[in-house]
């Protein structure tokens, strides 16, 4: 049975970001809008983890945590605090409250997952691990012993989120299966924008961490544009899939 995670935040935006971050994992996400709702849900659902905002109307996160600590049934539930304030005093206050960890906004979903996995293991959703042709893993395709990652003509923020969400589980699956090569196929990509650069950097960084060798394929025009960016200027570009395969 998956983990039960309670996210308590007055901002629907943050609750959605939290929900999205946990989407690939076997978790049930429960939402509360303030400390009062959060306390009530915590008592009813007995979650495995609470992700708790500090600044909220009705009852703030600090008050909710203090009340939880008075309840024998709730006091040991691990809590990760979210705060927009990184000041020394605020951080000290949070640490003294007895939370497991805290995150300062702005943060990315994957940073939250990294923090959570330091507290408890997260299992990937059964039947949700990337399979070729399925939605969400549509960019990945295994070609022999090479994992292809083909991205669309125009990269927008949602594309990055989709690829990022799938990338870590995919790399885990690859390395577990002895696949150590990836081709980042940008041959369809026509437009260079900030999202594309971020996507390339994310893929390269994650592959490096996982010990996967990645080669990049792009058109000559795109390759030339990528040379103008500090982040991608030194990346060797291959102009066809066959060239990249031969380079392995």
């Amino acid at each position: 049975m998956g983990l039960k995670i309670l996210t308590v935040d007055d901002s629907k935006t943050i609750r959605m970001i939290v929900k999205k971050a946990f989407r690939p994992y076997d978790c049930q996400i429960i939402e509360g809008e303030n400390g009062v709702e959060g306390l009530s849900l915590a008592a009813k659902e007995k979650p495995d983890l609470i992700i708790l905002d500090i600044t909220m109307p009705v009852m703030n996160g600090a008050e909710m945590l203090a009340k939880m600590k008075e309840e024998p049934e709730l006091k040991d539930i691990p809590v990760i605090m979210l705060t927009a304030e990184a000041g020394k005093d605020n951080v000290m206050k949070i640490v003294q409250m007895g939370v497991k960890d805290y995150m300062v906004k702005p943060f990315k979903g994957e940073q939250l997952i990294d923090r959570v996995t330091k507290i408890m293991p997260l299992a990937e959703k059964k039947g949700d691990s990337p399979k070729e042709g399925e939605s969400g893993s549509k960019y990945f395709n295994l070609d022999g012993d090479i994992q292809m990652l083909a991205v669309p003509a125009k990269i927008l923020r949602p594309t990055i989120v989709e690829v990022e969400t799938q990338l870590k589980p995919k790399l885990k699956e690859m390395t577990g299966g002895g696949i150590k090569k990836m081709i980042l196929d940008l041959s369809k990509t026509k437009e260079t924008n900030v999202s594309l650069i971020k996507l390339i950097v994310t893929v390269l960084d994650n592959c490096q961490i996982s010990g996967v060798k990645v080669l990049t394929v792009a058109s000559a025009a795109l390759g030339k544009e990528l040379k103008d960016f500090q982040e991608t200027g030194n990346i060797p570009i291959h102009f066809s899939i066959d060239d990249a395969k031969a380079a392995f």
Binding site: D10, S11, K12, T13, I14, M16, I17, K20, T55, M56, P57, T83, A84, E85, A86, G87, K88, D89, N90, K105, P106, F107, K108, L156, R157, P158, I160, V161, E162, V194, S195, K198
Partner: protein, 157 residues
């Protein structure tokens, strides 16, 4: 430390650029101050109260607010369901930028509290703030959109 020595211009620029970069993958560039004319816009505001008091406003056009919302929530523009979603995202942005400013003030010896965000929307309106010790207005550009950030601080009561 005197509030007049507080480096508001650097802090407000840094916080805004970091929030847009991290949460929205939008790299902002600073541009000359401009106004929105009669373009319909949304303003997210947070207030600070304590040893220092202040306010932070972030102005964006309706169309930029929708783009920001889509990026923040990882969706396409036509998937945005309501104004509430857009308002919540702009409020959260002002909370993050205001939260950073609050932390800087607390670290500089001016403990204060941060309000929850409020939203103003419409067109052909102005927000006037007077009597502040330090203030900074900065205009950023992303593609053909602009974001105007105003921050005002003074010693608290």
């Amino acid at each position: 430390m005197d509030l007049s020595n507080f480096d508001l211009p650097t802090f407000i620029r840094g916080a805004t650029q970091e929030v847009f970069d991290t949460m929205l993958s939008m790299e902002l560039s600073e541009q000359e101050l401009t106004d929105f004319g009669d373009t319909s816009r949304i303003v997210g505001s947070v207030s600070l109260a304590g040893t220092a008091s202040g306010t932070v406003n972030i102005h964006v056009s309706d169309s930029f607010a929708c783009q920001i919302t889509a990026n923040m929530l990882g969706m396409e523009l036509d998937e945005i369901e309501s104004d509430d979603e857009v308002h919540d995202v702009i409020g959260e942005l002002s909370n993050m930028i205001g939260g950073d400013l609050k932390s800087r003030l607390c670290d500089a010896g001016f403990p204060c509290e941060l309000s929850i965000p409020s939203i103003t929307s419409g067109k052909d309106f102005s927000i006037e703030s007077k009597g502040w010790a330090v203030n900074e207005t900065v205009c950023f550009q992303f593609e053909d959109h602009i974001a105007l950030i105003e921050a005002y601080i003074k010693n608290g009561g």
